[in-house]
């Protein structure tokens, strides 16, 4: 069949080479994109960590004048922004990229070029925000950007413009990635893998992606409004022109609270993979963990005003949001108990990933409990905007999300690279991180209860805060050393390779079924899935009946349907990527257009910071990218 299609003149030949810089710029391989996400966001992690250490150095003693207030404000603004948008979200995205196709038995994501676009936009957006350091005008209005302090009246520099434009650019990347993973997970599953057979990490990715897709537009709106306020003098949040600063808080936290779950759910997914593997038991209560995740994601939309208990919304609103906030602790608790149930009676191997995952549960529990304390508005009146809150969310985001991510790094490193990370260094890394982390953030609890507000660059000598602050600063240093040990471990393990084999941990999910590192096409043969944790049950068929029969409610899913509720046998769905039949493996060809399009978007963004003509300069790149992309076939005819 010959078909006519539109052709766009190519400025460059389509990239073909498998090595060299151009192979990375043109890549559409989810594994390479995942690697790039990981490396870039780890670099930002070091930057954000350095910012934190500078702040800790400043706060180590009373009346310290190491860093002035302006620099301090820039540091905490960029530390928060960096860690949330440039570290934890993209580090999670690195895992999404690497693992989702592998876990669902696909050869790539649903939209490989869109995936590349997400990464490039993320890269340029992150550079855009951090470029403000070079100009010396870094954002200084807090990662929450409260109006009117973030408006031009009180913040005339360019810093917050960088911030708001950068966030909008990053938002585009996040939404594109979120859409991609939703479709990938729904549409690219291996044959036989229905939704209740997909790995729990994939489930959490799906839920996170839904949250990203629905929450990031709200941030985009807040961002656009603040940006027009700053750049064009509109009045959205300008109290002098009738705009209401509280409205910014509503819109920002309306995004901000789902964002919290965007940060933590992927880590929960990682932990839910690591615990069963190292306990050599299936995840306890799989449907409940999934359901709890979904309930958290839904309820997460209705709790935003707990960030605003002291704003003066009145007793009725505070009551309502207090109750909804407390309720969200229930599904979170369900998850923790299910993890404990998973460990119970297991044959637990305490390797590094497992240590990180167990620590995750322990630390996240602390963060959760302190969270319940300020779910109560009367106690929150004392805790809001104090170091108690700082302690709380670092227990959730460092003790939670980051430990989960490190667990995932140690767990999947053999799969990514083919060799182990050194175990002894790993344990040293873990131990230093745990000691440093707790020494840093536990004292912040009573700093907060002793009345130390957040975001102050110095404090007086007579406040009784010096000891705890010093401890926290030392803890920060130890935590930093722990991270250095990790970096050392990466290089050490690379030079002294201990090869891992395809399935080093006796894994449960499909990614362990392929080689380490996986071939470009992921799977030589797309697996046929029959069970949840299919790979495990194929390895240990004798355990199938144990898992599926030890409760009278449960039925073996294979073969004839034993479930009376299902009216007819499900049609066998055929699998994975766009390849038809079992013949040749076709992967999408490489493409430059995502890169070109993202350059255009970056220039467009920079235009809002500099001047309008630059916005115009971005448009040709965007058109070039879009038109070229839409007329470029996924595969060139052979």
């Amino acid at each position: 069949m010959t078909t006519k299609s539109l052709k766009f003149p190519q400025a460059f030949p389509r990239p073909k080479s498998a090595t060299g810089i151009w192979s990375w710029i043109g890549t559409v391989d989810h594994k390479r994109i995942g690697t790039m996400y990981g490396i870039v966001s780890f670099i930002w992690f070091l930057v954000g960590g350095l910012e934190a250490l500078l702040m800790r150095a400043q706060l180590a003693s009373a009346e310290n004048d190491l860093i002035g207030p302006e620099a301090f404000n820039q540091l905490f603004t960029m530390h928060g922004t960096t860690m949330v948008f440039l570290v934890i979200m993209p580090l999670s995205a690195a895992f999404f990229n690497w693992l989702i196709p592998l876990q669902i038995g696909a050869r790539d994501v649903a939209f490989p070029r869109l995936n590349a676009l997400s990464f490039w936009i993320f890269l340029f957006g992150s550079i855009l925000i951090n470029f403000s350091w070079v100009t010396g005008d870094a954002p200084n209005g807090g990662w929450f950007g409260y109006a009117p302090n973030s408006g031009t009246t009180f913040n005339p520099g360019l810093g917050m413009t960088y911030w708001v434009v950068g966030l909008n650019v990053l938002g585009v990347a996040s939404i594109a990635a979120g859409l991609n993973f939703i479709v990938t997970i729904l549409n690219m599953r291996a044959p036989g893998m229905d939704m209740f057979k997909i790995p729990i990490f994939t489930w959490m990715t799906l839920i996170t992606s839904v949250l990203i897709v629905l929450a990031m537009p709200v941030l985009a709106v807040a961002g656009i409004q603040l940006m027009t306020d700053r750049v064009y003098g509109t009045h959205f949040f300008n109290s002098l022109g009738g705009g209401d600063p509280v409205m910014w808080q509503h819109i920002f936290w309306l995004f901000g609270h789902p964002e919290v779950y965007i940060l933590i759910l992927p880590a929960m997914g990682i932990v839910s993979e690591v615990l069963p593997t190292f306990a050599r038991k299936p995840l306890f209560g799989y449907p409940f963990v999934v359901f709890a995740g979904a309930v958290i994601a839904f309820m997460g939309w209705f709790v935003w005003s707990h960030h605003m208990f002291t704003v003066g919304l009145g007793p009725a609103a505070n009551t309502a949001f207090s109750i909804s906030t407390m309720l969200i602790a229930v599904p979170t608790g369900v998850k923790i108990f299910n993890w404990l149930g998973t460990l119970w009676g297991g044959n637990i191997r305490l390797n590094t990933p497992m240590l990180f995952s167990i620590s995750f549960i322990a630390m996240f529990t602390i963060g959760g409990l302190s969270g319940v304390m300020h779910a109560s508005p009367p106690t929150d009146a004392q805790q809001q905007d104090t170091y108690f809150i700082v302690a709380h969310f670092h227990y959730v985001l460092v003790g939670g999300a980051l430990l989960g991510i490190f667990s995932g790094i140690y767990f999947w490193w053999p799969k990514f690279t083919g060799y182990f990370l050194n175990e002894k260094l790993g344990i040293a890394n873990w131990a230093l991180m745990m000691i440093g982390f707790n020494l840093q953030f536990a004292p912040m609890h009573w700093l907060g209860m002793d009345g130390m507000p957040r975001r102050i660059y110095t404090y007086a000598e007579n406040m009784g805060w010096e000891g705890s602050n010093l401890a926290a600063s030392i803890g920060g240093l130890i935590l930093g050393i722990g991270i250095l040990v990790f970096i050392f471990n990466v290089f050490y393990s690379k030079m002294n390779k201990v090869m891992a084999g395809d399935d080093p941990w006796d894994g449960r999910t499909l990614e362990w079924a392929t080689s380490s590192p996986p071939p470009v096409h992921d799977f030589d043969v797309i697996p046929q899935v029959q069970y949840r944790d299919d790979f495990w049950f194929k390895k240990y068929p004798e355990t199938i009946s144990e898992y599926y029969h030890d409760d009278h409610d449960q039925a073996v899913p294979s073969g004839a349907q034993l479930d009376d509720e299902v009216e007819e046998a499900l049609p066998v769905v055929s699998g994975g990527s766009d390849d038809h039949g079992h013949g040749a493996i076709h992967l999408p060809d490489m493409s430059y257009y995502p890169f070109i399009l993202s350059v255009g978007i970056a220039i467009l963004g920079a235009g809002f910071i500099t001047n309008t003509y630059v916005v115009g300069a971005g448009v040709p790149f965007i058109l070039w990218g879009l038109l070229g992309w839409s007329m470029e076939p996924v595969n060139d005819p052979e």
Binding site: G141, T310, A329, M452, R454, D503, T543, E546
Partner: protein, 483 residues
């Protein structure tokens, strides 16, 4: 199949978790700390601390159970020897799931009850049975607090005086950015949000001096935006109110105080009022503060004026720089010379003409600084009865009237403060309106300023009729002499 690496693990991870915890618990919270939320001095803070303790102990039990379970399970079920034995492959247990869904709900219900009572007790107005309520308007400025007592017509800054065991109702306002009003030992914080006036109430039940601090990030000097709350006995409080209506004694001619007074009038008084003692002066200060704000906001970069703390009876204060340092001659001189050596980012240093120097220090000799400091420290309630200064009889000097009432907004030179500079006003006045000579025009402008606002200036000038005919006459005479 390739099996797991044979790494052994000698350390029990639990210990690593416990060591920092133990260190942490050793250093318990210290109620005597200045801003501790535990050593409370008022019923609201006490209720909040009690509720915290209640939740804390419930959380502690949950904490011990969960962390204990983690440690127990990790130790009890960890792999011994190299056995790769497969444990029972259980899939879950519905009854357990229901149990650990319902138990947290019940625990949270137990927490919710005192939480909700707390919300409605603390946030729904002052209970009727608490005694006579003192009303205070607290206004957050970048980066200091203004306190107004509308019922007593008293205005002060950075040091809030309240009577013991009497409820104080606050109206919390802000014109610039969001601040948060927080006295940890007496009550939890409530934000001061522009356009959204908030209300809170508190009772101080112990006489003493308490620390307060802005808790919402508000810009460069956020860390230095502090204040003090002084809880008096009822008698002391009434005495303080009376004192705030008593003007200081006039300085002896030729004394450092007298020199300081003149320097203050020349360099400081367009922004700082220091004479809000007489009847009517409260309303004037409220208007002036608004005028200063309008002046600043209409030209932020070049404004020569900005909202500033009221310094009435400043000698009574105990701190300077919004609760930063003890007030004494030395600290005050340091403050006047170079505010940023104590507090970076003050609006005063940015906008006041006297700081318009290369290094930002004041254009004053050390002696002059010392005189101003001496003068300010001498501002304490004097021997004269309240309100006696206004019309002291005899000849009224127009220059004095001008210094006391007009310098907040008008300079005698060409520069604009809020209103126009008045150099040569005597010459201009006669030609402004047909059929009105200079005297008549000036008089009209003073008693009914709305009629003759000069183009391009905000309509904020208050009516000056309250000064009395004699003072107005003297003022007009004085104005006509300005060249």
């Amino acid at each position: 199949m390739h099996r797991v690496s044979k790494l052994s693990f000698p350390l029990r991870p639990a210990l690593f978790l416990l060591v920092p915890m133990a260190i942490a618990l050793l250093a318990a919270c210290t109620p005597e700390n200045n801003q501790s939320t535990f050593g409370t001095a008022g019923p609201i803070a006490k209720d909040q601390a009690d509720l915290f303790n209640f939740i804390f102990w419930i959380a502690a039990v949950v904490f011990i159970l969960v962390e204990g379970a983690i440690i127990y399970i990790s130790v009890r079920y960890r792999r011994r020897s190299d056995s790769d034995k497969l444990p029972h492959q259980t899939h879950g247990n519905d009854r357990l799931e229901i149990t650990w869904t319902i138990i947290p709900v019940l625990i949270l219900a137990v927490i919710a009850v005192p939480t909700l009572t707390g919300i409605w007790e603390q946030q729904n107005g002052v209970p009727d049975d608490q005694g006579e309520v003192l009303n205070v308007e607290a206004i957050g400025h970048q980066w200091w607090f203004e306190f107004r007592y509308p019922n007593h017509e008293v205005v002060t800054s950075n040091e809030l005086h309240i009577p013991v065991n009497r409820p104080v109702a606050f109206k919390l306002e802000s014109q610039d950015v969001i601040h948060s009003f927080w006295v940890p030992k007496i009550a939890g914080k409530v934000d001061m949000v522009p356009l959204n006036d908030n209300y809170m109430w508190m009772i101080g039940d112990e006489v003493g001096e308490y620390y307060g601090q802005c808790a919402e990030f508000c810009g460069i000097a956020h860390a230095h935006m502090r204040f003090r709350v002084i809880v008096h006995t009822e008698e002391d409080f009434q005495a303080w109110i009376t004192g705030m209506h008593t003007a200081p004694d006039a300085p002896v001619a030729g004394s450092p105080e007298a020199s300081g007074k003149n320097l203050f009038a020349a360099n400081c008084s367009s922004c700082h009022s220091s004479d809000t003692t007489s009847p009517g002066s409260y309303a004037r200060e409220v208007t002036s503060q608004q005028a200063r704000w309008n002046g600043w906001i209409s030209d932020i970069e070049n404004s020569g004026i900005v909202s500033a703390p009221n310094l009435t009876n400043f000698g009574q204060h105990t701190t300077i720089g919004a609760g930063l340092k003890d007030l004494n001659q030395a600290s005050l001189e340091q403050w006047i010379t170079d505010p940023s050596s104590i507090k970076i980012g003050t609006r005063m240093q940015k906008h006041a003409a006297v700081y318009d120097t290369a290094d930002g220090t004041a254009k004053l000799s050390p002696a002059e600084v010392s005189d101003i400091a001496t003068y300010l420290l001498s501002l304490k309630p004097g021997s004269a009865p309240a309100g006696a200064v206004a019309d002291a009889g005899g000849d009224v000097d127009g220059a004095d009237v001008f210094a006391a009432n007009c310098t907040s907004c008008h300079s005698t030179g060409d520069n604009t403060v809020v209103g126009p500079g008045l150099a040569g006003v005597g010459d201009r006045a006669g030609s402004r309106v047909d059929g009105m000579d200079a005297t008549m025009y000036l008089k009209e402008s003073l008693t009914d300023p709305g009629s003759y606002i000069v183009d391009g200036f905000p309509a904020v000038m208050p009516e000056m009729g309250h000064l009395g005919t004699e003072s107005i006459e003297a003022l007009v005479t004085y104005l006509k002499t300005l060249k």
